[in-house]
Amino acid sequence: MVLAANAAAQAAGLRIGMPATKAQALLPGLEVQEADPAADTAVLERLALWVLQRFAPIVATDPPDGIVIDSTGADHLHGGEAPMLATLIEKLVGFGICARAAIADSWGAAHALARFAARPSFISKSGESVADIASLPIAALRLAPGLVDSLRVLGFDLVGELLARPRAPLTLRFGPELGLRLDQAVGGIVEPIVPIRRKELIEVRRAFCEPIGAAETITRSVGKLAGQLCDVLERKGLGARQLDLICHRVDSRAEAVRVGTARPLRDVKRMTRLLSDKIETIDPAFGIEVMTLAASVAEQLNPKQMVSSLVEEPQPDVSDLIDLLANRVGAQNLYRIIPVASDVPERSVRHIPALAPEIGAEWPEHWPRPPRLLAYPEPIDTVALLPDQPPVTFTWRGVRRRVKCADGPERVYGEWWKRDPELIAVRDYFRIEDEAGQRYWVFRAGDGENQRTGSQRWFLHGIFG
């Protein structure tokens, strides 16, 4: 029997569930592989471990073909839910895995949406998961195949139809499984995710005799856990690049916090500070009974002498501040801007991580540059002499200004090695000052003579003020 078929096979007419002999008859020369559930599970577990390391601290396999991720407390490192999902799918496609993903309020809803939503990546807004799954077929509910068939016989096709029915007759007729699955999908019943763990993971654990809930108590426990973890890391000569704090609550849910660091870290104070900054995102509910702290990514950290009376005091270290801020706003929102060898203004800058080594390069300084650059050059109406005079007047955002003096042109050539149309494209930049003393950076697309070099229209690109 055909158990799995890729896109090419499905296009050729193969369907999951058809006998293997029929498939071979449809497609002569078809390569058939024996099902190996054990190997499938092993691969799925390996993939889950990879997701665990890269994306979120609470990850579990959802056999036979899924991975479930608790994204709470981890999506900030990727810039939010949508960028996180996009990165995840992109990475999986890079591995040659065709993946579908969804984010929803409950495991059941996310499971249904990932497999049955029209889009390959679906993000359901908080509180709207029930509305989103209502239009999905009942097969999305993780029911036994026989149960799905008998529901179909009774005329139920969509999850929404089942949800609208009174529950008691359904339970009487089909047993408790249907009600359970429906509750799990709408989030009425807690369905804990039992996270997978790597064997060699560096992890410390604290169990409390009484469940804790106050922020101060959690901070104190985090400090103690950090101390224990640093001892373990020190024995192994490692520093943590990523920390996972998992709080197991009494209602058997887990709250997770993940923080990343720019450099290997083995400092109790800084570790506590980083984690404490995230404590307000933990919801203790009725109390936390077990806390675990793991260094999910660790790198070698060799001891070195920091302070010496022989050398002058080096520049103050700001890496702890950078870590703290990066965990708040996301590492991609914290950057330095360095020069790129390009004359086109918008291409002359590049973002690099805040703690990257110093470059030492600067932009060429012979032409003044405006402190504010518009995201897109805005077209302006001008009165200007061709071919190489600055405008006499211009109208920008509905205000007409007379130009008192101007500097230019500074000719910028297109970069033919990037795109063909840029082969002869030209921009002529002028710095102009109006009568009130406001200074602007304007350019004409084209050299003023040859129509092929540009549209000859004028644009305002920056403000000198």
Binding site: R328, A354, P370, C405
Partner: protein, 256 residues
């Protein structure tokens, strides 16, 4: 009798000053200021320069209240002269960094932080001020409530880092917010003036109208200055430097 009076009043003044210093907080370091290097400006500021460990407010005048271009350059000039790295928190990433480098703030020294809302900008800015390892911290915000500015000021006092709130609004009408009281040490408004005239066609060195609108323990005043050079120093316009002597000479000639 008179002499005793004088010494007594001096003593009373000194004790009053000490009392004020005590109320202001234990962290204030009297001598640490960042001078502008222009006697005209420095003489008007208490301590002879921009105080370290304090919050300063900068905004643009006129159109500058919206684009914040001149204010950004003025801020970059101050940050360039303060030693150490600079944290620049923004919500709108429209700064063109080559211009900051031309005002003396080299690209390796500035760390930009892009936040989704102003609340995060203020919180991150406070964190930066509290750290103490940075030279200056800049926050580009529209609204700066009293509580937020007080938090920033206290954080700056604790570490000795210069905090600069670069005020920038979406609309001209919102700029009246600049009149609201804040806990900032000084408040500046910078507007563009016509540039220094040149004998040939072209744009000369830009000039700014630098208004010191509010200054704790000082008087408000305004200056007409030339824009930052490539080390972040403001310049005194040549005609202004020579004007008193010329005027004096002219008068003398007329009276002779």
């Amino acid at each position: 009798m008179r002499k005793t009076d004088a010494t007594f009043s001096q003593h009373a003044l000194a004790s009053l000053r000490a009392e004020i210093r005590r109320i202001e907080g234990r962290h204030r370091r009297a001598a640490s200021v960042l001078p502008f290097g222009l006697a005209l400006v420095d003489s008007r500021l208490p301590g002879g320069g921009l105080a370290f460990g304090a919050l300063h407010e900068v905004a643009g005048g006129g159109n500058g209240a919206i684009d914040g271009a001149v204010a950004a350059l003025f801020t970059a000039g101050i940050a360039a002269r303060a030693l150490g790295k600079v944290l620049w928190c923004v919500t709108r990433p429209d700064l063109f960094v080559p211009a900051l480098a031309q005002a003396g703030l080299k690209s390796d020294r500035v760390i930009f932080l892009e936040a989704g809302d102003e609340k995060t900008v203020l919180a991150c800015c406070e964190e930066g001020l509290r750290h103490g390892g940075l030279g200056a911290v800049v926050a580009e915000v529209a609204r700066l409530p009293m509580t937020a500015s007080r938090r920033l000021q206290l954080a700056a006092e604790g570490s000795g880092t210069i905090g600069i709130a670069l005020r920038r609004w979406r609309r001209q009408a919102e700029a009246v917010d600049f009149g609201q009281p804040t806990a900032a040490m000084t408040r500046w408004r910078i507007s563009a003036l016509p540039s220094t005239p040149l004998p040939v066609p072209g744009v000369g060195r830009p000039r700014w109208l630098v208004e010191l609108i509010r200054c704790r323990a000082g008087e408000s005043t305004n200056f007409e200055l030339e824009a930052c050079d490539d080390t972040g120093h403001l310049g005194l316009p040549a005609d202004l430097t020579h004007r008193p002597r010329q005027v004096e000479g002219g008068r003398r000639g007329a009276s002779a």
